[in-house]
């Protein structure tokens, strides 16, 4: 059975989620906190009724609980009812006694780690998630022999229908080690930072699914507190002619928005944050008036996608809409047209709007009423699907 990770695009890339009996590595550069990504998956599995066994050799249990709390997740209740159990291999390493339900008295001993994992799996219901945080620290403490145990861990999760999720920070190990990791795990999720133009962002990607090496897209994400992992789109441009409804669209979509308005028209920028079904985006709404075009040209840069808003009752403004796309250098980006003001009696239908704009079938057009919010979320969903889907 495949189980959702709680992270939308990732689930699709993993062909539905993590399967019981499967092994997955969360491979990350040391500059990203990979464990926080794992917490999101843990919390999602706990919420869906599964058990989670969490092995830690990198931090104390209360630190994990506190970090989770900052994401807005109270894990105490799950711990009390026995669905969340910790295997403490951290405090024993510091020479103290273990704090979790289970402890590894000698964290440098791979044999002992394996037997404690077996006992924990035996004492939890099947279908649970076993997290190792982290395999790289185990490697540092035990030496490469711990990698010889991976086969055993894989057999254990097969036996108990659990899924294994190992966090692995690449501190610059020899290539043989990376190769062994890549070889062993059936699924490989990689977290890295990339620089796109001048913007530095974190991305996740999937390198392997069900034992098959795959090429998949790189999905930008952010860790939100509260919220957890959110797929992050730093700039969606909302543009279109004067009075089309851009400001209304930004406000209808945003959880928080600010506008620079004078005499009820935008003179500089509408800016809003949108949280939507696991996605997080920043909206940049431009002004429509020609005299502000230099600002439009400046703000168009680095947009990931565009929402073009037009007043469906004013086809005479459509050439201006096209000109704005061009000026914002937004031509060719994933785009959706909001055929706005559908509530007005003389509004053209979305199909008529498409024809009059001269767009082909590849550009989706949705009918919207920005003042009531009708159609705008549906439109955003279609746009996100164009960016990340398929």
């Amino acid at each position: 059975m495949r189980k959702s990770t709680g992270i939308p695009v990732l689930d699709d890339m993993l062909r539905g989620g993590l399967e019981d009996g499967s092994t997955t590595v969360l491979y990350h550069t040391p500059f990203i906190n990979g464990a926080l990504f794992a917490y999101h998956i843990c919390h999602h599995r706990l919420k869906s009724g599964d058990s989670v066994i969490y092995f830690t050799n990198t931090k104390r249990i209360f630190t994990i609980m506190e970090d989770a709390e900052r994401f807005g997740w109270d894990m105490r209740e799950y711990r009390e009812i026995g669905r969340l159990s910790f295997i403490d291999a951290y405090t024993p390493f510091m020479g103290l006694s273990g704090e979790g339900r289970y402890a590894v008295s000698d964290p440098t001993n791979p044999e002992e780690i394996t037997s404690v994992l077996a006992r924990a799996l035996e004492e939890h219901e099947s279908g649970s998630l076993l997290v190792i945080d982290s395999l790289s620290t185990a490697l540092d403490q035990c030496g490469v022999e711990v990698l010889d145990k991976l086969e055993d861990w894989g057999r254990l999760v097969t036996l108990y229908d659990a899924s294994l999720l190992c966090v692995f920070a690449d501190w610059g190990y020899e290539s043989q080690i990376r190769m062994r990791i890549e070889d062993f795990f059936e699924n490989m999720i990689e977290l890295t930072s990339i620089e796109r133009n001048v913007i530095i962002g974190d991305i996740f990607t999937v390198r392997k699914v069900e034992g098959e090496v795959v090429e998949s897209k790189r999905v930008p994400f952010k860790l939100m507190r509260p919220g957890g992992v959110r797929i992050y789109i730093p700039k969606i441009l909302v543009t279109g002619p004067f009075h089309a409804g851009k400001t209304s669209v930004v406000h209808a979509l945003s959880t928080r928005a600010v506008s620079v308005d004078r005499e009820s028209t935008t003179v500089a920028l509408d800016f809003g944050h949108v949280e939507f079904e696991g996605f997080y985006a920043d909206l940049f709404g431009t002004t429509g008036q020609q005299r502000f075009d230099p600002i439009l040209e400046q703000l168009g840069g680095e947009a990931i996608a565009v929402i073009l808003v037009v007043d469906s009752t004013k086809p005479e403004t459509f050439p201006r809409a096209i000109e704005m796309l061009r000026k914002a250098r937004a031509y060719g980006l994933p785009c959706i047209v909001f055929a706005n003001k559908q509530d007005l009696p003389n509004a053209l239908s979305p199909e008529e709007v498409r024809a009059k704009l001269g767009f082909g079938e590849e550009v989706p057009v949705v009918g919207t009423v920005a003042t009531t919010g009708e159609g705008v979320r549906e439109g955003l969903r279609i746009l996100l699907n164009t960016i990340f889907g398929g």
């Binding site: 500059f31 190990y173 930072s193 530095i200 600010v258 620079v260 800016f271 940049f284 840069g301």
Partner: protein
Amino acid sequence: MMEGKLTLRDMLKKVLMDLNATGEVYASAIVSRNGLLMACEMPSDIDSRTFAAMTATMVGAAETAFSELKKGVAERVIVEGREAKIIAMGAGKKALLVTMSDPRANLGLILLEMEKASEKIRKLLGR
């Protein structure tokens, strides 16, 4: 196996931390001219990404207005409020450096420190 490797992001953050540590400013950010946040060292109650978008817009508008006068280019934008002072200046072709400081802070000193920081940022960004 911890290595002393710093990412570009860490380096930009360090420049800002050093700038804040001079004591002249209490918050600073590096913003792309297109309004995206690149790095910031700010109190958590400030919505840094909104701040980034708005300052870039402000600088863009000021530069456009200035260029209409045909008196050269705008070097910096200073906004003085009763409770804070915001200063923005270019840091290479693609980025802006923005700081917030006490309204009574010494402008000359702030500008001096900002010039140094912006030169570092320009070099770090390689443009």
